[in-house]
């Protein structure tokens, strides 16, 4: 037992080193910078809690938070929902399962920026694909990225991008359910939709919990879809784009770091909340 310790430390070291350099160090550096007023890269001044006071009264940040939460709602309902439905459907077929698995997983591999550029060309008012179809049908052009619809329009590629990832997670979870449960269910006479709601979903609840946590934390990081498609205009400014604007466009790293801390806190609270709401007993087969 004692000899093992050495090996444990040796094997843990690389990961610990990576985590400290790329995760903990930047986090504490952000915490440190959040107490400074920075002027570009070369000049900074200690200002105490000023950045946090600004954080509390910042209306744009409040709006960005609300937009992020709205996007999160879409992601939770549609991303998790669609991937769950797709997984159940694919789990129930015997042929072409691999084919569907690759097809649905495919968008995850494409970079978010590339997808966003694609959707810029879909939504463009003057020569976008969607308006091209509408004018072809003799209908009026629609401003897809208007103040009221832009965020919903952005939610579409955001949801689509990661559906495949959760789909694979669900599918793996479902494949782990022993066949006896289904056999028993068959004898009891449940089929189709009832099978999904009474058997499959309760049995993979812990995986659904993981997926929901991933979806929540993932939405907090959304950046490229908003930045590329709408340049964070028309009520689409989310936390990811707001922090970018403050830190990198305005070169106010002090306040940018303060927003980063805020995002971490918000993320932890939301994840804890989700865990609390979905509390259930672990199921072991």
């Amino acid at each position: 037992m004692k000899g093992d310790r050495k090996y444990i430390l040796i094997f843990l070291f690389p990961m610990a080193a990576l985590m400290s350099i790329f995760l903990y160090y930047p986090f504490f550096k952000s915490l440190y910078l959040s107490f400074y007023r920075t002027k570009g890269f070369f000049d900074k001044k200690f200002i105490g809690w000023d950045n946090y006071e600004r954080l509390v009264s910042d209306k744009l940040l409040g709006a960005a938070t609300l937009h992020t939460l709205e996007l999160m709602l879409y992601v939770l309902i549609f991303q998790v929902g669609i991937s769950l439905i797709l997984a159940t459907m694919v789990d129930n077929i015997s042929k072409f399962q691999r084919f569907f698995r690759s097809v649905f997983f495919f968008p995850v591999v494409i970079s978010g920026t590339a997808i966003s550029l694609l959707f810029v060309l879909f939504y463009n008012y003057n020569f976008g694909l969607l308006n091209g179809i509408l004018t072809g049908l003799g209908l009026e052009k629609v401003l897809w990225l208007s103040e009221s619809t832009a965020l919903k329009a952005i939610a579409v590629p955001t949801v689509w991008h990661y559906v495949g990832f959760y789909f694979v997670l669900f599918l793996t979870a479902m494949s782990k359910i022993p066949a006896d449960y289904y056999d028993a269910g068959k004898i009891e006479g449940i089929n189709g939709f009832k099978k999904m709601t009474k058997l499959t979903i309760p049995l993979i609840l812990s995986d659904i919990k993981v997926v929901i946590t991933l979806a929540i934390t993932g939405t907090l990081k959304v950046f490229e879809f908003v930045w590329v498609i709408s340049r964070a205009q028309n009520n689409t400014d989310v936390l990811g784009t707001y922090i970018y604007k403050k830190a990198l466009v305005d070169q106010n790293f002090g306040y940018g770091s303060t927003i980063a801390i805020y995002m971490v806190v918000l993320g932890v609270i939301l994840a804890l909340l989700a865990n609390r709401l979905l509390k259930s007993d672990e199921i072991t087969y």
Partner: protein, 442 residues
């Protein structure tokens, strides 16, 4: 089972071969460098490798000319290896790249970058060297520059840190054909502009392609037209110039006349420029480099450029132009202090800013020449018109983002959409911007 393990084994073999190959090349370069430092006296010229960081990459119109200039130098000086490191200037990412390089001790040997407020940080921090002495030591080189260009590079302390290449101007680019087809006069004054806007928008043509978020040129020309050269250049440091409100109000006036694209809020600058290039927009406020970027020959051939007209009550002369020499080559201090690199870097710089190179690059990016006596004729009528506009300008002004902090400029940009849609009053936006400026310069 057996077959798959065999496959795995062979794949691993291939991988190790790759790894071996990689490590070998690394070893090679590793042994090469000490060799050259060990035997410096036998060879007349040492192998030097220089990194030049610029924005002449990606879709930049001058990318090929710049690469050719570097190739020309390296073919004459085989001992110097030049790494042409580039990043697109389209977004703010490259500012971050330059600044991180500068703070983290990873300075490029030669940097092509802005000269205004952007450069203040690393100049004050002593990361680049003043080049007055070098210029004085090479009188032929110094004499090759137009005095105005060097004057533009001179900072408040009288020192020149950057060597100019080409200048630029911003202007109102007008598609003459669209104006002619609709029996409109060119927008030389405000009435003609508003008349054109009304007529064109009624016909479904975008009158003025402009994005609200990347509204740099829009803000600059509207403020210049409203507040005149002096009011524009004073920024916000000494209080708010009330004429700036007029500039914003004029934006709203044009917006109400449907001057801007319907999706102006969400498009970026390149999309706005694209609308013009596609012939969907009749006017666009752009920089001189846009001419080289536009692909549609029919549009380019029918393009002329003029200053933005003066709005009623505006203090501009109607011949005020935004432009100048906004960027130049810097030599980093680390390179300057390194005796191996110093001379090579200076020679490279001389070659990159020789009248011939300047002419070639100015011809490809439509910029003005920093070299004395080099008249750029302009490869297109639009470019020729642009040079004529600059030559007859009553004032040449640096853009507003040279005189305010980046955060203030963001506030001014963010104000555009809220003002034109009526959510905010110009005075309130300017008050907010002033507060940001005060907080930022404290």
């Amino acid at each position: 089972m057996k077959r798959s393990s065999l496959l795995l084994l062979s794949m691993m073999l291939v991988f190790t071969m790759f790894l071996a190959a990689c490590s070998k090349t690394e070893e090679k370069t590793g042994t090469e460098t000490p060799n050259t430092t060990e035997t410096p006296k036998e060879e007349p010229k040492k192998d030097v490798s220089l990194r030049v960081f610029s924005t002449f990459g990606g879709t930049d119109a001058a990318r090929e000319s710049f690469q050719a200039a570097i190739d020309g130098f390296t073919s004459k000086n085989p001992n110097v290896k030049v790494e042409n490191d580039t990043m697109s200037a389209n977004d703010d990412g490259f500012r971050t790249k330059v600044n991180t390089d500068m703070t983290s001790g990873n300075e490029p040997d030669i940097l092509f970058y802005f000269t205004g407020a952007d450069a203040k940080g690393f100049i004050d921090a002593g990361k680049v060297v003043p080049l007055n002495e070098v210029l004085d030591a090479n009188p032929d080189w110094k004499a090759g520059f137009a005095p105005a260009a060097l004057e533009n590079m001179t900072r408040d302390d009288g020192k020149i840190y950057s060597i100019p290449l080409t200048g630029y101007y911003e202007g109102l680019f007008v598609n003459k054909k669209i104006f002619k087809d609709n029996n409109l006069e060119l927008p030389t004054d405000w009435d003609k502009l508003t008349k054109a806007v009304k007529t064109l928008s009624a016909k479904g043509i975008i009158p003025l392609a402009a994005p609200f978020d990347q509204s740099h040129y829009l803000i600059e020309y509207f403020m210049l037209s409203a507040a005149g050269s002096k009011g524009h250049n004073s920024g916000l440091a000494n209080g708010i110039d009330p004429n700036w409100e007029k500039g914003y109000a004029a934006m709203k006036e044009l917006y109400d006349l449907k001057a801007f694209p319907k999706d102006a809020a969400t498009i970026d600058l390149s999309m706005a420029s694209n609308y013009y290039d596609q012939g969907k927009a009749a006017m666009v406020i752009e920089g001189s480099w846009a001419i080289g970027n536009w692909k549609n020959k029919e549009v380019v051939d029918n393009t002329t450029v003029m200053p933005f007209p003066v709005m009623p009550g505006g203090l501009g002369t109607g011949k005020d132009v935004i432009g100048g020499f906004g960027s130049g080559f810097y030599i980093s201090k680390a390179t300057y202090d390194n005796p191996d690199k110093k001379d090579a870097a200076i020679e490279l710089l001389k070659s990159l800013t020789s009248p011939e190179t300047i002419e070639k690059i100015a011809n490809s990016n439509g910029g003005t020449s920093a070299a004395a006596g080099v008249e750029i004729k302009g490869t297109t009528q639009a470019a020729t018109d642009g040079f004529a506009m600059v030559a007859s300008a009553t004032s040449i002004n640096k853009p507003i983002d040279n005189v305010v902090t980046p955060e203030t400029f963001s506030a001014l940009r963010a104000g555009v959409q809220s003002i034109v849609t009526g959510k905010k009053q110009p005075a309130d936006v300017l008050k907010e911007a002033k507060a940001t400026e005060d907080a930022g310069t404290k």
